[in-house]
Amino acid sequence: MPVVAAAVCPHPPLLVPEVASGAAPELDDLRTACLAAIDALSTASTIVVVGSAPAVPYGLVRFPAAAGGSFAAYGAPGVRIGGGDPVLPLSLAIGGWLLEQSKAARLPRTYVAVPATTSPDDCVRLGREIAAGNDRVGLLVMGDGSARRSEHSPVHLHPRAEIFDTTVATALQHSDLDVLKALDPDLGTELQAAGRGPWQALAGALEGATLTPDLTYNAAPYGVGYLVASFT
């Protein structure tokens, strides 16, 4: 069976209210959009979470459903998912944290870390592999747009950041897989757009699928591009 539904979400630590403290309500609409997109994965029989990871120490590695994730490194030691040592990179920890609040919380789950250095071809190949099994897969793709969107961005403004994110947003909205596959990894790195690899895995996974795309969130409230999309 192919991918029966997919969701695309960003992964700022700020999504976790304990990290954001008093600023948490500012991202209520983003949290709601993410959960709505993830709820739609509940028609699947298994969930695969794909998310970016630093090239060091992560390879293209899979983690089981019980893998641990923590936000202690960002200042919220009380929030964690799974068991054992916190091994999940941020993107997958946020993905798991969102999943556990969603209607897809009880489905079996696998995590896949995509190192930032993974080539577009390898990302697309990963997506095809995910879609090739017999399971009815619900795919959760964790990816951020550029962290260089504005003068007050975490990383300073880059003149191509907004165009890059808009290109991705339009491609998600129209399920234009060729555009996603063609995203330049070097430009993605320069723009600090963590989603490049995971979005290309999405493009590989959706080949041959006939899902309806819906872009439900597209903004950069803190100078980092956040995109939420649903494929059902």
Binding site: P12, S21, Y74, L90, P154, H156
Partner: protein, 293 residues
């Protein structure tokens, strides 16, 4: 750190014993500082600010020629132009004032040391590996900072630490040890956890809360919390309204063992530190008559 140390911090011709607080006034020679927006950019205004800081109780002044955060590029020549003659001028006016220069460039460090600087405040944590030799050759002190591996003048994006205090201790003490090996005077070395730089607010709060662990390394700890974003985010206040929060963070840091305090508001910090010195038992009250006559 070395065993022969007596805990005395020696900078210029001043000595600060263990338990004695040293106050460092911030004098920006930049047109775009986040806090004062260039109030002391002009030379006359900067000299006047220094005279006032000394009158208000500053032991050190910290001169910066380049805005710490992202901004217009400042060439080495321009940084030299903003700092070298100015340092020489301060030295002439205030012979015993400790002059610190905030720079990450070894070329600037050498020239300001020749001009009379006593302390090199290497806020970007050894980004220029030669800066430590400039301190060694000139006999100045050195501030060893923690910026989480950032490059100069960049801002953090989701810095993550298994234990931010442990990371700060590991990084700053390694820089201090390296400085000693390079020939820097051990009694002129300070460590600075560098709140906000490469840290989110929760991490800077954690550093403040556990400052005693930094002090326990034996290296004198410099704290630069004045008007920083972690105070602003904690209290939801813009830069101009963070004075009270600054004094709270400064006071806790002093209580937990910090020894040098880099501040904008010298009189307020001096009062707070004088009070805490008495609380800690390292100074006597000015006079105690109440209910004693």
């Amino acid at each position: 750190m070395t065993d022969e140390r007596d805990g005395v911090l020696r900078l210029g011709n001043r000595s600060f014993a263990a338990g004695e607080f040293a106050l460092m006034a911030i004098i920006n020679r930049t047109p775009d500082s986040f806090f004062d927006r260039g109030a002391t950019y002009a030379t006359d205004a900067a000299y006047a600010a220094i005279d006032q800081a000394v009158a208000d109780g500053a032991d050190l002044v910290d001169i910066g020629g380049v805005k710490a955060g992202y901004g217009e590029p400042v060439s080495e020549d321009e940084e030299l132009r903003r700092t070298v003659d100015f340092v020489a001028g301060i030295r002439a006016r205030h012979p015993s004032l400790v002059i610190s220069v905030d720079t990450y460039r070894s070329g600037v460090a050498r020239r300001v040391a020749e001009a009379g600087a006593d302390l090199l405040n290497d806020t970007w944590a050894g980004a220029d590996p030669d800066l430590v030799y400039a301190a060694a050759e000139a006999g100045t002190g050195l501030v060893c900072s923690h910026v989480g591996g950032l490059s100069p003048r960049t801002d953090p994006h989701r810095m993550a630490f298994d234990d931010v205090v442990a990371d700060v201790i590991r990084t700053t003490t390694a820089l201090a040890d390296r400085a000693v090996e390079a020939g820097v005077r051990p009694d002129g070395i300070l460590i600075d956890p560098t709140h906000d730089f490469g840290k989110n607010t929760l991490q800077s709060l954690e550093l403040t809360r556990r400052l005693d662990e930094l002090a326990a390394t034996g290296w004198p700890v410099l704290v630069a919390v004045s008007n920083k974003d972690f105070i602003g985010e904690t209290l939801e206040l813009p830069p101009g309204q963070r004075g009270n929060g600054t004094l709270a963070a400064l006071s806790v840091s002093a209580w937990l063992g910090a020894r040098v305090f880099r501040v904008h508001d010298v009189p307020a910090a001096r009062q707070a530190l004088d009070f805490i010195a008495v609380l800690r038992g390292s100074a006597q009250p000015a006079g105690t008559r109440r209910s004693l006559a």
